[in-house]
């Protein structure tokens, strides 16, 4: 009996050890002297809290890759100079499993252990959680979310990196309504973000003279097959389908809609990326008539080609806008620190953001961002692309 007990304890511990070891390997591997540039006087810690395990892990990793690439490049050039002192960047990443409460706990840890003046987080829930205490605890939230709410609340230390999604609604509806027709069926992802998008899009569609024939969310974490829901949506004979969520499952929905005989166009939520969707559908033909965010590899900015090349060399895949925009944001923050003459005063850094964005060297401009709005949003133009005759074409938006 004793032996059995011992074996049980050993096996359980082994399981635990392995599980923990495996968990660990995916989260932060960074360790530094800590202490925001005080100990060796040369390191600025920048925090990141995002999903690094679980179903959204790949998304968290891609955003983190952009930040890390920017940091590595800056460090390779010998760091950056503020008030005569050279600093290096150290990205401290923690896993929050996409859960806002974990983001909050991680942020507390980051500011206490690493004194990070900036914490990046790539989801709206996490941003809203951080906004509860970021002004008291004095750190900037690097918000990678297109949710307009995060900058509407008047938080003074929030920087919204991507363009707000409500800008897409008009050009998307105009394009598809003109090309395909007035009937839309909405099959967005069943997240808060998906719901918010839907609630903005559908009223606009109706106001523009369209008709909503079907509206139901798909839960990508629960549904094994989308045939049932797509069949029901297509029964109402829509001209346009509104779909969205993570790129790959969204692409499956589009593919199954084609299999079921759908001939119309797709409005694609900005979370999904056309080039990533193509990997699932095989060709752009299945996505004919889609309108969405223009893939990074198809944009023509001064720094795009170099960035795509470097990213591909390191990660063996095309970068998406989440890597590109976070790369820009990290560069902007570093330039802002230079302009502010401070690496640890978030208020000064935030005030110098506009100058920081303007100072980004031309060859690093993966996107052209002329400045920052009063409310903390980057002033980027909407970059929209559509699939026409099996090819991605950029669509001009005012």
């Amino acid at each position: 009996m004793k032996k059995v007990k011992l074996m049980f304890v050993v096996s359980l511990m082994l399981t635990l050890v392995f599980a923990l070891a495996a968990c660990n390997s995916s989260s932060s591997t960074n360790s530094s002297s800590g202490g925001g540039g005080s100990k060796d006087g040369n390191t600025v810690n920048v925090g990141f809290s995002g999903p690094l395990s679980g179903p959204a892990a790949f998304y968290g990793e891609r955003t983190l890759n952009g930040l890390k690439m920017a940091a590595e490049e800056i460090n390779k050039d010998g760091g950056f100079e503020v008030k005569g002192k050279k600093y290096k960047i150290n990205v401290v990443s923690l896993d929050d499993k996409y859960l806002p409460n974990e983001t909050g706990a991680n942020a507390k840890r980051l500011i206490q252990e690493h004194k990070t003046p900036i914490i990046f987080t790539p989801h709206s829930g996490g941003v809203l959680a951080l906004q509860v205490f970021n002004q008291q605890d004095n750190f900037i939230v690097g918000a990678y979310t297109s949710e307009p709410k995060v900058t509407e609340s008047g938080n003074k230390l929030t920087v919204r990196i991507p363009p707000r999604y409500d800008g897409y609604i008009e050009p998307f509806s105009e394009y598809t309504m003109e090309r395909f027709g007035k009937k839309i069926a909405a099959l967005p992802t069943a997240s808060q973000y998906g719901k918010d998008w839907t609630e903005k899009l559908l009223p606009h569609w109706e106001k523009a003279g369209g008709q909503v024939v079907y509206n139901s969310a798909i839960d990508f974490t629960k549904d094994t097959d989308f045939f049932t829901i797509v069949t029901n949506a297509l029964k109402k004979k829509p001209d346009v389908l509104f779909i969205g969520g993570a790129s790959e499952p969204t692409a499956k929905v589009a593919k199954q809609a084609r299999e079921l005989g759908f001939k119309g166009g797709f409005i694609i939520m900005d979370q999904a990326k056309l080039d990533e969707m193509k990997k699932v559908t095989g060709t752009y033909e299945a996505l004919e008539g889609s309108i969405g965010v223009l893939p990074l590899v198809d944009t023509q900015n001064p720094g795009t080609d170099q960035f795509v090349k470097n990213y591909k060399a390191e990660h063996n895949e095309d970068p998406g806008s989440e890597a590109g925009l976070n790369y820009m944001a990290m560069n902007a923050f570093v330039e802002a620190m230079k302009a502010a003459g401070s690496v640890d005063d978030p208020k000064k850094i935030r005030e110098a953001m506009d100058e920081g964005l303007k100072n980004i060297p031309e060859e690093k401009k993966v996107y052209v961002i002329p400045g920052i709005e009063e409310d903390g949003g980057f002033q980027s133009d909407l970059i929209v692309g559509a699939v026409e005759k099996g090819k991605i074409v950029p669509i001009e938006v005012e």
């Binding site: 359980l12 599980a19 390997s25």
Partner: protein, 287 residues
């Protein structure tokens, strides 16, 4: 009418996948007497191995499935030997904790080896067939036909062969089976092997219509739990019938009631069935 037939077909497809997963779960229940929480992870592992065999080793779909069956089956045996066998005299709660541990381990392992991103599994059966306004794809037809074939084979194996009946004997009474000379260790390993193989088949068939990712086991495992409760714990016909009941209730419920409530419909059905037959549809006799 077309919609009804289309949705029946959709329900049949998804029900076949559910049934296969539930079958593996219910077989192991006979040995462990607890639901094996790690079954969803074995399902996921099956998908990844088939995918890797197809993309890296360049094997044909069927060969890849065969390799996957072997590997996941052996993983099942390994789990029995290393984890559950040493725990056979421990209270059931230990089995549960161990199973959850395995689940966490395998998911983290998959993310470590294959990465966290979604991958799509190519299939040689990508054709779309349109008949009388109803859409079939060959992959979906394949799911249904293969699942039914596997179920028939399993049934014949359990009922008509000597080894098969030892599995049933052991599920009914472990000590009794031991007394009449059945090698319970061997049977336990065999059962885990079959259970792993069923998970691998189910996932390899279903993966081309969805995606392969570390958390994919969660899509089916909770539903498989519902199915074996609904069908009667440890009952083989219960797992099959339960799987199809859930498949049809999802597709028809989403069509004629509301897509947003389709999970509720499945659970209401569960409540009704359990109120009438508290042990499930096909409660096991002889225990």
């Amino acid at each position: 009418m077309e919609i009804l037939i289309q949705q029946l077909f959709n329900g049949l497809t998804i029900g076949s996948v559910y049934s296969l997963v539930a079958l593996g779960l219910t077989l192991v229940y006979g040995i462990l007497h607890i639901p094996n929480f790690a079954h969803g992870a074995l399902y996921m592992l099956g998908g990844y191995i088939t995918l890797t065999m197809m993309t890296s080793a360049g094997l044909h779909y069927w060969l890849a499935i065969f390799v996957s069956i072997l590997v996941v089956g052996l993983t099942g045996v390994l789990l029995e030997r290393l984890v559950f066998h040493p725990l056979r005299h421990a209270p059931p709660i230990h089995d549960k904790i161990a199973a959850i541990g395995i689940l966490l381990f395998l998911e983290a392992f998959a993310q470590f080896v294959w990465g966290a991103d979604y991958q799509s599994m190519p299939t040689p059966y990508d054709k779309v067939i349109n008949l009388f306004g109803i859409t079939f794809t060959s992959q979906r037809l394949l799911i249904i036909v293969s699942a039914i074939a596997v179920m028939i084979l399993l049934y014949l194996f359990l009922k008509k062969t000597f080894i098969g009946s030892t599995i049933i004997a052991m599920a009914q009474n472990r000590e009794g089976a031991n007394l009449v000379g059945i090698n319970t260790n061997k049977v336990a390993m065999l059962t885990f092997m079959i259970s792993g193989a069923l998970a691998a088949i189910a996932c390899s068939l279903a993966a081309p219509i969805n995606l392969v990712f570390p958390g994919m086991g969660h899509l089916v495992i909770l539903k498989a739990f519902v199915i074996i409760i609904l069908g009667g714990m440890g009952s083989i016909p219960g797992a099959i019938v339960g799987g199809y009941i859930l498949g049809f209730s999802e597709s028809l419920g989403a069509t004629y009631v509301s897509n947003d409530y389709k999970d509720i419909i499945a659970f209401v059905l569960l409540v009704i069935i359990l109120s009438v037959k508290p042990t499930g549809l096909f409660a096991k006799e002889g225990r």
